[in-house]
Assembly symmetry: C2
Homo-oligomer: 553 residues x 2
């Protein structure tokens, strides 16, 4: 006999089907009936300290798991999670927001129910602006189709979506899901595709020094291995960008380095900008990914693929999907014998970190040490700020081992996102490289990492203020922060048996802290690294130079 | 000679002129030029850990100071403060949000600058929905008029407003302010006013048992003393509501109590609902202010004044302002000699709290103790949750000594709001009554209270979870929280020399903690009161009964 379904049961069923195994969020009276159904489902509820943090956690989870979701309550929760949703929208992350709402039947009156602001359509209207699709479920008859449409849109577009669930609809009966949710990707126009691939293959074949720039969309649409096949079939060298770092392996012999415009290392900048045929795959030319637009690329020598089209020089081919283009080009391109004709330009294997006795820690040495200890069982989360600037120098081999918000750049993202990362990849260890200013934004979510027994390694750079602002602008007193005793927080957040906080000021102490972390793979180790106030990474020094140049223009 | 002005200087000048003496917020690269100007002005910059907290702080500040303001940066900051702005909009609090934005000249290109999401008008569009007025300053020629219009709107409407300040406009020259900003309040139609007052005075005169219900708008438009004159001239008894608690003195002989529908004390409910002439002044009938709409008021016996009109029975008088109505009615109403004909129904003077030796603390005793120690130099901030439910029983004499978000009910509001309260009223001491779930939302702002040397008293009720949800719904595991060592946070947040955390479990320990707080008026005392898991105030028990009744309907 057909199992009878409620709207809530239908939604839980679909979430589970599409791979939502953990649900983040905060309970509130308008979502409790829905949460009751979640609790008896195989989906694991992971409560957060607040809704913004829940959103970041769902984002981090979605980046590795392919889909993530958060549940909030009306008004206070819906408005609090918006920044995380905006970040997911800007960065192309598929996240579902489920907002428990006041009863649909109340809406006909002018009743002033708590958490209501302005009018009943406010949140739907706002979420529509920063999601691929949004629905307010007010009719159990249409709810299943609306749920399916919105979830399909999330999976296809890799963008956030929004579902508003009034509390008197949750338990209403609705039809059962008849078959699995089908998701059809966007389809290329075959003529356009064939013509674009033919032209591109010809250009790459005849170019003297072609190069592939592997961009962020390859990460978001999980096209890393397809791109690696293209790279290896063609034997063309490749660069990545900060937002797409490690989408292809960094110890690969064809890897040139990370392209960041004038912020790049010189040989990378030269190889990319002097190429007579640059194949750009899903790259975004954002300000921070291009050293503040300090790029010098000649459109006439570029093949740009992404956002559903191909542009070659001054003409473009519409309706060509990135995945189709890569697959077809791989089958047509001839090897260039790059490997035999060029010296290896790739990174050197990483250097061992040997702490100098009684030597005060500096930023450069901190990052060298972290780079040395990173391994392929760790996922590095790099916070916008100096962490972000230091990151290009780290060697990371797998796409899934690096998380950064390189475009939206919301500081405070990494601590809650690490929770999502840890639950999505329980076999791996999140390493959070964050600054004091960023950490203060969302610090309480450390307590959820402790509660969920996530064996994270925190590297908190305590340099007494907002460092990147000190370096790029005159150093106003607004960059000062209250000095916390960061290393005591794991204990304060109830982590005594599971988490250890360590304050380090020398190279030896830092090295010992990492050794402890490696010897205790099941525990959370929180390293507070104390640095001089204006000391920073080589990357931030170079960004400062780019910035001063851009200001002089 | 005329001083030359920049847009930034103009804005700083106007902010100062209208009483913004402290500016809350978070620095970010798009707002740094503006902040540089703030730092050399008499306005004091008060940085916060994150933008939501900055918004709450500005809200708390505005409630006492009459105006408050917060500065954020584009995208990440603008989207993060929205919940605080929505709360201010719902609760009628005049708050200015200044959002530093990318250069106006960039907007013609499609440049992907960091923190940008969707398009350049997104934030303006969203803020327009939850503010009285909003402006994006893209032209230094029109900027002064736009600033004036928006600030005037904030002061008149007592609602939040929004100013977006692109970073290339900040330093552009503009005209100087020629004269002080004039603010004209809304004007009543004199005929409508006279007729309404005449009818109301007649009804009150002939009624057998009239009563005044003093509502939240009296607080927001600061009409407490005018209303007290009306009350005393007319000698009519009055009730308040939770949202307007203490707008009139609670030890006043005409005070009946706090009306909350079926959630009220019986004698208050009877006196309000059985009145043959209820004069309702600026009251909002929200769900939590009416015991979940368990009110039984006969519109035919009501005179409702507020939102610019007067309604008597089935007819209404448009364009009548609350302040005008109160003033005119006061001059026309005759005393009822209520005082001589009725027994005093007001609260009894508060009872001393005598701790019972070795007696485990209960919720009821905790609230009794707090009530006893509250004095007229303290401002109580009561968090939505059990704190909120316990509050009607506290005796508070001055309107400015009590802060609650009784309608929007965003948990986590009180800790940051206390920062604003403390800076707005440095002579007074904020007392934050909060729960563990609420405190975890915004806990880090405790560190800003410490940095700013605010001598707050925290009473954190640690009952291991979201209590109000445990009581009103089945007790799902989603109500569990990570158990923090709350009393250690003042130390962890760098408060060692200024702040003390105390964990109490017995009546004596609680009493000693309050005595310590009183003996140390210049320090921050953080009391973590440990309570049994489901123990709660009498108010929440009564709310539970209302809730079960409302569900049976």
């Amino acid at each position: 006999m057909q199992k009878s379904f409620t709207v809530s049961g239908y939604l839980v069923h679909r979430l589970q089907e599409i791979g939502v195994n953990h649900l983040f969020g905060v309970p509130g009276d308008y979502n409790l009936d829905f949460l009751d159904d979640v609790m008896i489902s195989p989906i694991r509820w992971v409560g957060n300290c607040n809704e913004l943090n829940a959103g970041y956690a769902a984002d981090g989870y979605a980046r590795l798991n392919g889909i993530g979701a958060a549940v909030v309550t009306y008004g206070v929760g819906g408005m609090s999670i918006l920044n995380a949703v905006a970040g997911a929208y800007a960065e192309h992350v598929p996240m579902i927001v489920i907002n428990g709402a006041p009863a649909a039947r109340r809406r006909e009156s002018e009743a002033m129910v708590h958490h209501l602001v302005a009018h009943y359509y406010l949140q739907l209207e706002i979420f529509k602006k920063i999601t691929a699709d949004a629905a307010m479920l007010t009719d159990p008859f249409t709810a299943p189709n609306e749920i399916d449409r919105v979830l399909r849109s999330c999976l296809t577009s890799k963008l956030p979506v929004y579902i508003e669930l009034p509390c008197d609809i949750v338990r209403a009966s609705c039809k059962a899901p008849v078959k699995a949710l089908t998701v059809t990707s966007a389809v290329s126009n075959l003529d356009s595709l064939a013509e674009a691939v033919k032209e591109a293959a010809g250009l790459l074949q005849t170019a003297a020094n072609p190069i592939i720039l592997a961009g962020i969309e390859l990460l978001r649409f999980k096209l890393g291995s397809e791109t690696l096949r293209l790279v290896e079939s063609s034997e063309i060298p490749f660069a990545t960008m900060l937002g797409s770092k490690s989408v292809l392996p960094e110890l690969h012999p064809q890897f040139t380095g990370i392209y960041q415009g004038g912020w790049s290392k010189k040989h990378v900048q030269a190889q990319v900008e002097e190429s007579d045929c640059l194949l750009s795959l899903g790259a975004w030319m954002t300000d921070l990914d291009t050293g503040l637009f300090s790029i010098n690329l000649d459109k006439r020598h570029m093949i740009e693929v992404g956002q559903g089209k191909v542009r070659i020089g001054g003409h473009f081919y519409p309706q060509v999907e990135l995945s189709d283009f890569i697959r077809e080009l791989t089958s047509q391109v001839q090897p260039r014998s790059y490997l035999t004709s060029h010296p290896a330009l790739s990174y050197q294997p990483k250097q061992p970190f040997i702490p100098r006795p009684a030597c005060e820690l500096t930023a450069t040495r901190l990052y060298d040490c972290l780079n040395y200890y990173l391994d392929d069982q760790m996922v590095l989360l790099s916070e916008p700020g100096d962490a972000f600037c230091a990151t290009p120098e780290f060697h990371i081999e797998e796409a899934e081992n690096f998380i950064v918000q390189s475009y939206y750049c919301s500081i405070g993202f990494c601590t809650p996102a690490a929770l999502g990362v840890s639950l999505a990849r329980p076999g791996k260890r999140p390493v959070i490289l964050t600054g004091d200013g960023a950490f203060q934004m969302t610090a309480q979510e450390l307590s959820t990492l402790i509660r969920e027994r996530c064996p994270a390694i925190f590297v908190l750079v305590n340099n007494d203020g907002y460092l990147i602002e000190r370096k790029l602008h005159q150093d106003g007193a607004y960059n000062n922060l209250q000095m916390w005793r960061y290393a005591s927080l794991p204990e304060a957040f109830g982590g005594s048996s599971f988490a250890t906080g360590i304050h380090v000021t020398t190279e030896e102490e830092l090295n010992d802290a990492f050794k402890l972390a490696l010897s205790e793979p099941g525990r959370l180790i929180f390293i507070e690294a104390f640095l001089p106030k204006r000391d920073c990474s080589r990357g931030l020094e170079r960004l400062g130079e780019s910035f001063r140049k851009s200001q002089q223009k």
